[in-house]
């Protein structure tokens, strides 16, 4: 066999073998990974709505209290107790300073006030922009008005203003834009999710 032929067969067989191994690993881990992503989103919702349950009861509680509506912008989660709407969570995604930020924002049923905010994933600078995930910052959104729009700025005074993170102006601005843009989009197609 010539060297060229040997090279060809070696590379093809190595590539084929690797592909088979990867396929097996992916098939084996896929259900676990899908389950983890599902639990992570449900846990984020629970913390937003102030629900506290152990992991093994998450699915049961979720289907009992929370109704999911898929829209073009993203998922809408409506939280009911005793047949009364308590809170509405919207999935918001957009570009942060370094990468994609995914979050859930909860609105009160009056559709004027923010109930809470939680970050699902982000790629901001640790110690600076990553502070958007800390309770100290997130709790500031509670009871703020999101109309006409949210402002994340230095020295927040009005009830639609939130204190920005020191040293992370770009992340603060990006988050402000994501919240305002996505809420506007959801409100524009309100009839699709509000009455259901």
């Amino acid at each position: 066999m010539t060297a060229e032929k040997r090279i060809f067969y070696q590379l093809v067989s190595a590539g084929f073998l690797c592909a088979v191994i990867i396929k097996f690993v992916v098939v084996f881990t896929e259900p676990y990974i899908a389950k983890n992503a599902d639990i992570a989103e449900k846990k984020a919702l629970f913390s937003l709505f102030g629900l506290n349950y152990p992991d093994n009861r998450i699915d049961e509680v979720f289907s009992k209290y929370i109704k999911v509506i898929r829209t073009e912008t993203g998922s809408v989660y409506k939280y009911y107790t005793d047949n009364t709407l308590r809170s509405i969570a919207l999935r918001i995604d957009g570009m942060g300073f370094w990468g994609e930020i995914s979050a859930l924002i909860a609105l009160k049923p009056d559709l004027k006030t923010i109930d809470g905010l939680t970050i699902i994933s982000h790629n901001e600078t640790p110690g600076l922009g990553a502070k958007i995930t800390e309770p100290e910052f997130l709790s500031k959104f509670h009871n703020k008005k999101f109309l006409p729009e949210i402002k994340i700025k230095k020295e927040a005074l009005a009830d639609n203003e939130i204190d920005a993170i020191t040293g992370a102006t770009q992340t603060s601005n990006a988050l402000e834009k994501i919240i305002n843009d996505d809420i506007r989009e959801y409100l524009a197609q309100k009839e699709k999710w509000i009455s259901q």
Partner: protein, 206 residues
């Protein structure tokens, strides 16, 4: 094959101390800077590198006589990439929180020069058993650096080790330790300490 203890010991110590990947050969620096913010990230990363390094060295050593020299690099890359994907998927499936916090760095083990270096320099010329010892030695040396840097950084950045508080609540965190300049500083101190000790012992022997 007979393996005498002296040779095994010499090969292992070469990786852990004499040619310590981070302090002496300067390999694997990127991950030593990036994932050392918390001790548990450093341990996860060290475990990943050890797993990939060990199995890739053995695999490279097994095929070393059959592979065409011109395509050996491509095949090493394939072997390492497959092992890294296995480790990444394993973390994602069973330790989703750590996997999420480490972000892209687990996948970047593929480009870790410690692993590629051992495959090319040692495993491609030695028996599988010796290659395994060599890989273990170098991964241990790599882990040592990561653990040192992460302990110092976590301690000063948040006053904790493994998430447990080490100082009184009055401790004011050094934010710089959590950011990249802190990593550069602590890594430099680590390299300085290792070289200082090596210099002293060398002078004594001379």
């Amino acid at each position: 094959m007979n393996l005498d203890r002296k040779t095994a010991h010499r090969i292992f110590i070469d990786g852990v101390w004499i040619n310590n990947p981070i302090a002496i050969t300067g390999l694997g620096l990127c991950s030593a800077l990036a994932v050392t913010g918390r001790v548990k990230y450093a341990l996860t990363m060290s475990a990943g590198v050890m797993f990939v390094n060990l199995l890739s060295s053995v695999a490279v050593s097994v095929i070393r006589k059959k592979i065409e020299p011109r395509v050996r690099m491509a095949v090493y890359t394939l072997i390492i990439a497959v092992l890294v994907i296995c480790f990444d998927r394993f973390l994602k499936a069973f330790y989703p929180l750590i996997s999420g916090e480490l972000g892209p760095y687990v996948g970047l083990i593929i480009t870790n020069c410690v692993i590629f270096g051992r495959a090319e320099v040692f495993a491609s010329k030695n028996s599988p058993l010796l290659s395994a010892i060599d890989a273990l030695g170098h991964s241990t040396g790599y882990a040592m650096a990561l653990i040192f840097v992460s302990v110092v950084r976590e301690l000063f950045a948040s006053g904790t080790i493994f998430g447990y508080n080490m100082f009184s609540p009055a401790f004011k965190p050094w934010v710089v330790m959590e950011m990249s300049p802190g990593a550069f500083l602590v890594l430099a101190v680590y390299i300085w300490i290792v070289r200082f000790i090596q210099n002293v012992t060398e002078r004594k022997q001379a």
